[in-house]
């Protein structure tokens, strides 16, 4: 199942439970999995057209009248095209609006770079009052969406188009501000979000065959970030790798680096898209070409462990 499916299921459940839940979509109901909501609650579905700036502003107005609006689009359009509206009408004004960005990362079904959101974490986590969530599978996405509705204030949730493995369960806890240790280890920690959590687990498994013991942390709450869990990773394992389907600048890697440098510095390797735009292609081809495979994570972990031991060279870029 795709993470976007979890979002679609959650808004239906929320709509049933609370008459104040409304959904806005910018001509993308099927793609953002809000079509069912629009059929079930036609009066509470607000078709906004291909006009994302107005959609964000309308959501703020609805929120000020007590509604809980879910603004649904591709992340390249929202928050991509309406960042100023999100900044002023929603975040500065503390409007209780939830922004749902689909088609994040490279795996957008061949759409190419224009539709691959690789900057959305950076542009949302810098905004005061904003909560930023990047759930790892469809079950966690559903929980994140429900948690977003309960949270009073602006929330951004990112999810992906393509089907990805479902490996958390109904019982897996989800809390805004909390990371989750999925697999323990002593030599290094991989802190991942979204579609990179499952490859991180696979990388840990691969590394165990070579005798490494590697912790894997699912970090869906990019803001607020779980400082305690990240610092514990640095303290217990001394080497950190972050993995995300996002630019290496300004995303989860940056957020974790901020925690480490101000608390307990440790060598960190950042797995992500290396300051470049993507292109069309199949998911596995894209992950291979842009450095987001299990193998890339394995290499990064070995490098971090090497650096922990003091054997590292000075490099020009991250």
């Amino acid at each position: 199942m795709a993470t976007r499916d979890g979002y679609g299921e959650a808004v239906i459940e929320l709509g049933e439970a609370d008459p104040n839940v409304v959904v806005l979509s910018g001509d993308l109901t099927e793609s953002t999995r809000t079509l069912k909501f629009s059929k079930k609650f036609p009066e509470r579905y607000i078709e906004s057209g291909v006009a994302e700036q107005n959609m964000a502003g309308m959501a703020a107005g609805l929120a000020f009248e007590g509604k809980i609006p879910f603004v649904s689009s591709f992340a390249v359009f929202s928050p991509g095209r309406n960042w100023d509206q999100i900044r002023v009408s929603i975040c500065y004004s503390k409007a209780n609006v939830k922004i749902a960005g689909s088609h994040t990362g490279l795996i957008t079904g061949g759409d190419g770079a224009t539709h691959q959101a690789l900057e959305d974490i950076a542009m949302t986590r810098c905004l005061p009052n904003m909560v930023v969530l990047a759930p790892c599978d469809s079950i966690e996405t559903k929980k994140a969406t429900i948690a977003a509705a309960k949270h009073q204030g602006p929330v951004y949730i990112r999810f992906a188009r393509e089907k990805t493995p479902v490996f958390t369960t109904e019982e897996t806890p989800f809390n805004i501000g909390k990371a989750l240790v999925l697999r323990d280890g002593e030599d290094a920690s991989i802190i991942a979000c979204g579609t990179m959590v499952y490859p991180a687990l696979q990388a840990s498994e691969e590394l165990s065959k070579e005798g490494y013991s590697v912790r894997v942390v699912d970090n869906p709450s990019i803001k607020p970030i779980d400082v305690d869990t990240i610092v514990a990773c640095a303290r217990d394992t001394g080497a950190i790798v972050t993995a995300e389907e996002h630019q290496i600048y300004g995303g989860l890697g940056g957020a974790v680096a901020e925690v480490l440098t101000t608390n307990l510095p440790a060598p960190q390797e950042i797995v992500g898209v290396m300051d470049t735009f993507g292109e069309s292609g199949e998911s596995d081809e894209l992950w291979q070409k842009y450095g987001l495979t299990v193998e890339h994570i394995v290499r990064a972990v070995k490098k971090a462990i090497e650096r922990k031991a003091g054997g590292f060279e000075v490099r020009k870029v991250v």
């Binding site: 006009a51 502003g57 309308m58 609805l62 000020f64 009248e65 509604k67």
Partner: protein, 291 residues
């Protein structure tokens, strides 16, 4: 509801007071916008002292009419109208744009009870007004939403996105008041980014349009009444105004869009406004005598 000549004069007197407040605020801080606030004094006097259903002592009253200030830069006139109608002490007006003030240079909804929106980046207020209208209709509430807009704001794509949604959704609970003063920061609107024909554009996207003299209190009130009666469309009231109205050296001069008078310039402005205020008071006295 017809309005008497006396009521019109009394609202003109309030507009004159708001203008004097605006000049004092701008001189006190040495920055801010002069042209727009002075030009919209009659509109804000009419809204706060006649048209809108509101309660300064209960700014979050659920049944209040909502006033969204999309052209946030003219907030000095709104602050003055709020202070004069009892939302906060008039002395507080002189904190405008200063550190620790509730009266931010561009209005912030969370700073001051009674401000419905954060405004400044143009085009954002109208979208919020549309959202509030949709919510009001979903909940079957009776409040009306007024949205103050500038003409220059019509350069923004977001404005047209919101206008089209309002027309398509037949948002009859929405009334906009456009400050058609023909100026923006760099010059005259028709030189910078021509907007005409404005009325025809609004007609085409299913709005009811009323054009008025924005300094004529009776016309402002009648247009708001007409908007209330129009059942199948949102209403745009195009208020033709003179930027800097009431201060001769500012009137129709775009250079006064975004600057404040010096102390000396302010004294000249206040002198002119006080003379006009006295003229209105004489008219009021004359009318009362006849009655």
């Amino acid at each position: 509801m017809a309005i008497s000549d006396l009521e019109v004069l009394e609202l003109e007197a309030i507009a004159n007071t708001l203008r004097q407040d605006i000049i004092r605020m701008l001189v006190s801080v040495g920055s801010g916008h002069a042209g727009g606030p002075l030009g919209m004094a009659e509109v804000f006097a009419a809204l706060y002292f006649h048209v809108m259903k509101h309660d300064p002592k209960n700014p979050f009253w659920d049944e209040r009419d909502r006033l969204i200030l999309s052209n946030g830069h003219i907030c000095a006139v709104r602050y003055a109208a709020m202070a004069r109608s009892g939302y906060f002490p008039v002395e507080e007006l002189l904190t405008y744009r200063k550190i620790n003030s509730r009266l931010q240079g561009h209005p912030h909804n969370l700073s001051l009870p009674g401000l419905e929106n954060t405004g400044g980046p143009l085009g954002q207020g109208l979208s919020q007004a549309v959202g509030r209208c949709i919510a009001g209709r979903l909940d079957g509430k009776k409040y009306r939403v007024f949205c103050s807009m500038s003409d220059g704001e019509h350069d923004e794509g977001q404005t047209w996105e919101a206008l089209m949604v309002a027309g398509n959704r037949k948002l009859r609970n929405l009334t906009t008041l456009m400050d058609r003063n023909n100026i923006q920061i760099d010059g005259h609107t028709e030189d910078i980014f021509p907007l005409e024909p404005l009325k025809e554009k609004y007609d085409a996207i299913k709005w009811h349009v009323i054009e008025i003299d924005g300094h004529n209190v009776r016309q402002i009130i009648e247009a708001c009444d007409e908007a209330k009666a129009i059942y199948e469309k949102p209403t745009a009231i195009i208020c033709h105004t003179i930027p800097g109205k009431g201060v001769d050296y500012m009137e129709n001069n775009y250079e006064w869009h975004g600057k404040a008078p010096t102390k000396e310039q302010g004294d000249i402005a206040l002198e002119q406004l006080k003379a006009e205020g006295e003229r209105i008071q004489k008219e009021i006295a004359k009318l009362k005598e006849v009655a």
